[in-house]
Subunit: 156 residues, 6 copies
């Protein structure tokens, strides 16, 4: 088993997938933004219309998923056929989940991780005026279906 | 103190900074990619030319910093005047630091956090064929200089 | 019948089209830029090489069609297989038509409307030094073929 | 008075503004999306969370304003210092207003018109499953401040 | 035989390929950056870590290939299935080769030429502080497979 | 004298220009596309409206200049204040010149070279159906003004 993103001279390449079959691909990723409880209250509270930070983050995550191959150098362009995100607001943390689907020759793990990352950064951006100590973390692949490597489900 | 990214009707806007002074702005962010020790060995080991995963991640992070306002909805476009990244390879983790500078009306926290996030996602992408359990985390602002809100240094 | 761009929690998502068939899709959209008769004369007259404003608008419209999924948040990326535009110069108005084709799982209405909108904005941009009162309007879908919803033809 | 976007050989160029002063620039544009009353009810009604179509359109308009110089061929890149949008829902029409500010050498009319256009297209996109007869129109500059050409206010 | 990128009114269009078959497409392009021998020594020598200019150029070329349809007005968007680049350092010249693959309705000549061009410009950018006299040249298609026009091999 | 795009660990960075003065910057670059005489005749001849290939190339070159920092990894974003291009059609060659201006902390050599490269690639794209043997070459900086390194004029 070796890193596939390198050619014989040891330099990076976009892995060749020309001969791979097009199959339905699904990936689910998760992450979180940890923040002060008061910051959570600002997001959910009476001070602003409930949910708007998350609405913006949702749009940003979906748009970010579509830009994955523009930003991650060795990612293949893919025509995403579905992106959905959900958020769960805890006491001092916002959980983010992104689900991405396509019919293609490569998986959509990176698109799901990108959706979660961009949504997390958007939450950070919109709250940073009141809390600079937030931390984005636990960004990880939860599940992946389709393709030769088969079904992956993270053991948590 | 309230979230500044909302207008009177509670909808998101790009905060007005028209009258703010242009000052030197610096931001430093950090994050990490946790992975199996064997994955670290693949990156640093004899199997591939030392450092290439990190070279690609470095380029991706710098390019990502420049795209921040394209992807984070309420971010102001800024003309970055310097971006530098560094990596530290530990036993089961790669630490990432991004430093961004500009002379402008708003800070570059988001650009530094974006650089770190995109570099982390790139490392994930290049190693995911051998390790799907990697986790991106602890993405946070370390230091910020310039602007009215003054010097911020994370207490760690 | 309900808006399809929302998930169960009422938040926006990119509608899932994973299982849809790939069929030939065609969409035609139209719009116009209303302007002073003298502005029309500047565009068509002896003062500048005939047609150049429209040449630039044509290129902009075609390039704009290709960027639709970058800008319209819930649009699916599509590999366009043909874009054509035409213009008709009237006494105080330029009519714009855009035709877009693809073979894909979703229609290309948005791409055709985007092509017309970006062409109209480009005409505005190139003439605004002499006429700020121009108005872009009547941007609408004229015809749509392909896909489950069948043939649509606007009743005009 | 002549079209400024052409060089001596009659071909398009990006107008030179090198020696112009940097001044505060403000532009306000408006437009609308006409639609069936039932479509309006879908957007505002109990069926989906009030306002979400407009939330997405707002984010899209703001992000679109930032991409103006990417899409409109002869537009100068500008560092926007503020973008705000508002919507008014009428019986069979949604009014859109976009306000853009910068400190720069050229005006932000195109950015304001772009914000309105992209917001309108986003509304169309999100409602097109239930109403293909919508029409985007009356996109126009309402007011413009700053720069040598002075204060413009549309006579309506 | 005539230029295919023009419609009946003589204006540019994106050539229609809707009915074309999807076949495996391969294109190889080459080019070079001529420079002073001392500049070559800076790139390869002991002064900096061997190869890094070329590493950055490699990443830039691959990312550039993916952006071809964004920048070349009449290019069709294509989902690249493989991009690889190689460099050969001569006494006063760096040779660049780019190979691009896809399964699609149109060829990838432009993507291969774009990869080589962006890699060459990146080399220029990274060395221009020490040598402004560099020259980028001989960018040409070497080989092309797939599609109706058949196998092309440049006679050199 | 050493390559400035590397940090102490030998990895690429975006060179810091934070403290540099903003001055007027001008750069002129040139290049060419060599092609068969019959291809030239197709471009200029009666078969299509004279000049349209060059109109599209002009627009592409100007738009390409604005995307330089998106594509060339270590390039600083700059707000271009003027871009102009010109073409000269010879017997078997099209000469391309691009001139770019800004007021900024770094020069616009790369933007001028990018404008010429993208215009050349666009000409190639629009003529490749009738001539695959074209060659893009002699892309070089002709003149550069502004900034600490002073006036550069290529000795030709």
């Amino acid at each position: 088993m070796s890193l596939t993103h390198f050619n014989e001279s040891g330099r990076a390449r976009m892995v060749e997938v020309t001969q791979k079959d097009e199959t339905v691909r699904i990936a689910i990723a998760r992450g979180q933004v940890k923040m002060k409880h008061e910051t959570i209250e600002h997001i959910t509270g009476a001070k602003i219309k409930k949910g708007d930070v998350l609405s913006v983050a949702q749009v940003a995550g979906i748009m970010g998923a579509k830009r994955t191959s523009d930003l991650i150098p060795m990612c293949h362009p893919l025509m995403l056929t579905g992106v959905d995100m959900s958020f769960e607001v805890l006491k001092d943390c916002i959980l983010i989940e992104g689900q991405v689907k396509t019919v293609g020759k490569t998986g959509v793990e990176m698109e799901a991780l990108m959706a979660v990352s961009i949504a997390a950064l958007t939450i950070y951006d919109m709250c940073k005026a009141i809390d600079k100590d937030m931390e984005i973390g636990e960004i990880r692949l939860i599940e992946k279906q389709g393709g030769k490597s088969g079904h992956y489900k993270r053991g948590e």
